[in-house]
C-alpha cells in the first residue's frame, strides 16, 4: 500500500478525535479522544519512518506512547480526586480554574 493511504487514515482518526474532544462532556471520554489524536500522530510518524527508511520515527512514536501514558495517569488521578470530593464529573461544570 502507498504511504498516502496511511497518512489519510491518520488524518481521519485525528479529526474524529478532535470532534470528540470538542463535543463530549464526560472527562473520561475526553481523555479517550485525546488518546485517539495521539494515536493518529503515532500512525503518521510510523508511516513517515517507513517512507524515509529510518527508525527514528518509530522512536518518536515510542516517546509519544510514554507521553500518552503519563497524560492518562495524571488525568485519571484528577478524575478520581474529583469523584472523591463529590464534584460533578462534567467538563462543563469544571470552571473553577477560570481566571
Amino acid at each position: 500500500m502507498d504511504i498516502t493511504w496511511y497518512l489519510v487514515l491518520s488524518a481521519f482518526v485525528f479529526a474524529i478525535g478532535a470532534a470528540g474532544v470538542i463535543s463530549r462532556r464526560n472527562p473520561l471520554v475526553v481523555l479517550l479522544c485525546l488518546e485517539l489524536m495521539l494515536n493518529a500522530g503515532n500512525l503518521a510518524l510510523v508511516a513517515f519512518s517507513r517512507m524515509h527508511g529510518g527508525e527514528a520515527g518509530q522512536v518518536f512514536a515510542l516517546v509519544v506512547m510514554v507521553i500518552a501514558a503519563c497524560e492518562v495517569v495524571i488525568g485519571l488521578g484528577i478524575i478520581v480526586a474529583m469523584y472523591r470530593n463529590r464534584l460533578p464529573i462534567d467538563v462543563d461544570e469544571m470552571s473553577e480554574l477560570r481566571g
Binding site: I3, Y6, F14, I16, I22, Q58, M65, L76
Partner: protein, 194 residues
C-alpha cells in the same frame, strides 16, 4: 501483494470504526472497549509498516495496561450513560464541522505536499541476513541506547514524575497526616455568607 491490501482495508476500517465508537457510544465503558479495538487495528497497521516492536508495545502496553487502568476508573466512578450533546448550542453543529474541516485540511496538506515518496511503498529497508531487521526490537533498542539516549532517559524520568503525581492526586486526604482520626470539617458548609 493483494493480501497486504486486504489486510490494510480490514485493519483500517476496524480502526476507523473503533474511533467512531469512542466518540459516538454513550456509555464510557463501551467507549473504552471500542478504543481497545481501535488500538488493535492500529497495531496491525504498524505491522504492515514493518514496525514490529511498536506494534508489540502497542498491544502489550497500550491495549493491555493503559486500557485496564481506564476500565478500573470507569468501574470505580460508575460510568453512567451520558446523553450526547443536546442539539441546543453551537457545539453540536460546530464539532463535526470542525472535524470535517480539519480532516480535509490534513488530507490536502499530505497529498499536495509534493513528497515524491508518498506514492511508493516506502524506501527499501531490506538488510543483510545477520543484521537487525528494520523495526525489530534489536534495531530500536540500539537506537534508544545510542542516538536517542537523552530522550529515553527524559521519558523514563517523566514516567516517574507522573507516577508520583498520580499517587499524590489520588491518595486519601485524611489518615496520612492525622492518624488520630480527627473528623475533617465538612467542606460543603464552609461557604461564607456575605
Amino acid at each position: 501483494m493483494w493480501f497486504e491490501q486486504v489486510l490494510f482495508f480490514i485493519a483500517g476500517i476496524g480502526a476507523l470504526a473503533g474511533a467512531l465508537g469512542v466518540v459516538l457510544l454513550q456509555n464510557p465503558f463501551y467507549s473504552v472497549l471500542s478504543l481497545v479495538g481501535h488500538l488493535l487495528g492500529l497495531a496491525v497497521l504498524f505491522l504492515l509498516l514493518n514496525a514490529e516492536f511498536i506494534a508489540a508495545a502497542q498491544v502489550v502496553v497500550y491495549a493491555g495496561a493503559v486500557m485496564v487502568l481506564y476500565l478500573f476508573v470507569v468501574a470505580y466512578i460508575g460510568g453512567a450513560d451520558e446523553p450526547l450533546r443536546p442539539e441546543s448550542g453551537g457545539v453540536a453543529l460546530f464539532g463535526p464541522l470542525f472535524a470535517l474541516a480539519i480532516a480535509v485540511e490534513l488530507c490536502i496538506a499530505f497529498i499536495a505536499s509534493g513528497l515524491q515518496a508518498l506514492d511508493t511503498r516506502g524506501a527499501d529497508v531490506a538488510r543483510p541476513e545477520n543484521a537487525d531487521q528494520f523495526g525489530s526490537p534489536g534495531a530500536i533498542g540500539e537506537l534508544l541506547l545510542t542516538d536517542f539516549l537523552l530522550p529515553f532517559e527524559a521519558a523514563s524520568f517523566l514516567l516517574l514524575v507522573a507516577a508520583v503525581g498520580a499517587v499524590v492526586l489520588a491518595r486519601r486526604r485524611r489518615g496520612l497526616e492525622e492518624p488520630s482520626e480527627r473528623p475533617e470539617p465538612p467542606t460543603e458548609t464552609l461557604e461564607v455568607r456575605v
